[in-house]
């Protein structure tokens, strides 16, 4: 699912109306990264932007129970939030989890991407994963 995305300013793009994280795939070895980068972390080959799968499973999770230091831009007053690595297949991405109380997550939970609001330039920088069944 290649996209013309190297010019995209945000982390999230839309393909056929559905939100996807913008990663990169190595032209040589097929390794993926997120965010997109120009050359491969594994072999140094050139990479092209791709839309990553938007559904996956929680691979590991924890709860952030104390406010992170700046530049954190979360809710005020601080609300604890869950963080996970979500297995998307070609790679695992780190993201906040929402849509469920913070300590009710389990390894293997099925989740899908939800994009945050765009900024003034239309670029989307924030995203989270939510339980698949609630959408």
């Amino acid at each position: 699912m290649a996209v013309e995305a190297l010019h995209i300013q945000g982390l999230v793009t839309t393909v056929d109306g559905a939100a996807h994280l913008v990663g990169a795939r190595c032209d040589t070895c097929g390794s993926h990264t997120f965010p997109a980068q120009a050359s491969c972390a594994r072999c140094g080959g050139s990479m092209a932007a791709v839309a990553l799968p938007s559904q996956g499973q929680v691979w590991s999770w924890t709860v952030q129970r104390q406010p992170p230091k700046p530049p954190y831009r979360g809710a005020t007053p601080f609300e604890p939030f869950a963080v996970a690595y979500v297995d998307l297949g070609p790679l695992r991405v780190e993201a906040c989890l929402q849509g469920r109380s913070v300590d009710r997550w389990h390894i293997g939970d099925a989740v899908e991407l939800r994009a945050g609001p765009p900024d003034g330039d239309g670029a989307v920088w924030s995203f989270c994963f939510v339980p698949q069944e609630t959408n």
Partner: protein
């Protein structure tokens, strides 16, 4: 490798009304005194600090002798890298006496580096993911599940660290706590409670190395630095500040560094009499026990619950309380481990002395941005 440790010095770890540089001078002079040499005898020096200033600025008070002094800025491997450089200088015949020094003085609270310093966008910090403790928890949570390990083992390891710290005059945290007090304390990042983490702290450590011939002239209690190996991450390891991970995990740089150190030393893990392992939090010690080859993954419960890791056990680990009881002045932390093993092998560890005349020591430091230094020490 033919390099001997002939002197060690340490400024206690904790919080002090001294600059990092002042603490470094105290540690360096103590190490020189311990070796029975003076600064002008040193033919090569290496040192480093993350937040305490330039190491080579120490020479303006040690003496401007013209000695080559290499400043090291290498994350959690700063002390280990300084020791590596100093040992290479001796091994290469550049000098027969070298000094390694590490020191630091960090602000209170968890480290909060700028995302840009790690090549990341600001969004990563804005989203609340630029948090070291969060990484430890994410790595550990998966490890516990993969290897069917009880989170209560983390409280057991923390209790051991604080018990050993209570017996160590130079340690910072010297109050023992019960396993229940630790397990039931405030949760910071599940499954880790507040007592299970080490905190950034202050302190300094220094080591004088000598060629074997010079060591024989100086002392009859030299400890041989049989191996020191430094490795950085390969593709697919699970490191701090990673917005993504590869679909298949690669063994940690600790696995590579430990295996290389044991191979170079010609010593097996089951021959080690005392070890210091990186315990940035209790889960790190848990994982490093297996990564260094002291047990199978999942085999930690038997070692911990069987008392094997206690000072009077089969494999005493973190006999001075480790990072949990000493805190982590990054530049000094790796050298603290080597000093603790040296004191144990020399029978100079006081109330925390490992019984039975220990002969082989092992140290492992691990940290950001994905690197490890391991040593094998033999008396």
């Amino acid at each position: 490798m033919a390099v001997s440790i002939v002197g060690v010095g340490r400024h206690p770890f904790g919080r002090f009304p001294l600059s990092g540089r002042q603490m470094a001078l105290i540690a360096a002079r103590e190490a020189l005194d311990d070796a029975g040499v003076s600064w002008p005898d040193i033919g090569f020096a290496a040192g480093g600090s993350r937040d305490g200033g330039h190491a080579d600025a120490l020479v303006s008070e040690l003496g401007l002798t013209g000695t080559p002094f290499m400043s090291v800025y290498n994350g959690c491997a700063t002390g280990g890298s300084a020791l590596l450089a100093a040992s290479h200088a001796i091994d290469a015949g550049v000098t027969d006496l070298a000094l390694a020094v590490g020191f630091d003085k960090h602000e209170r609270g968890a480290f909060a580096p700028s995302p840009q310093l790690y090549g990341l966008g600001n969004w990563y910090g804005e989203a609340g993911m630029m948090v070291t403790t969060q990484f430890f928890a994410l790595k550990l949570q998966r490890y516990l599940a993969d290897h069917d390990l009880d989170p209560r083992l983390l409280a057991e390891l923390t209790a051991k660290a604080l018990r050993n710290g209570a017996r160590t005059p130079s340690a910072w945290r010297r109050n023992a706590l019960s396993v229940d007090e630790i397990a039931n304390a405030e949760m910071v990042n599940d499954p880790l409670t507040k007592y299970m983490f080490c905190s950034p702290s202050e302190g300094a450590a220094a080591i004088v190395l000598a060629s074997p011939d010079r060591a024989k002239q100086l002392t009859d209690r030299a400890v041989e630095l049989r191996a020191i190996e430094f490795r950085t991450r390969r593709f697919g390891t699970f490191e701090v500040f990673s917005p993504w991970l590869a679909p298949e995990l690669t063994p940690s740089p600790t696995v590579d560094a430990a295996a290389a150190a044991f191979a170079r030393a010609g010593i097996a893990p089951d021959e080690v009499d005392v070890a210091q392992l990186q315990d940035t939090e209790a889960g790190a010690e848990l994982m490093h026990l297996a990564e260094c080859g002291f047990c199978e993954h999942g085999g930690q419960a038997e070692l911990i619950l069987g008392g094997d890791l206690e000072i009077d056990g089969r494999l005493p680990v973190n006999t001075d309380g480790g990072c949990i009881a000493n805190g982590e002045p990054i530049g000094a932390s790796g050298l603290r481990q080597v000093i603790e093993c040296t004191l144990q092998l020399q029978g100079r560890a006081g109330d925390r002395q490992v019984p039975g005349d220990p002969r082989v020591g092992f140290t492992q430091v691990y940290g950001a941005p994905g690197l490890s230094t391991c040593t094998v020490l033999v008396r």
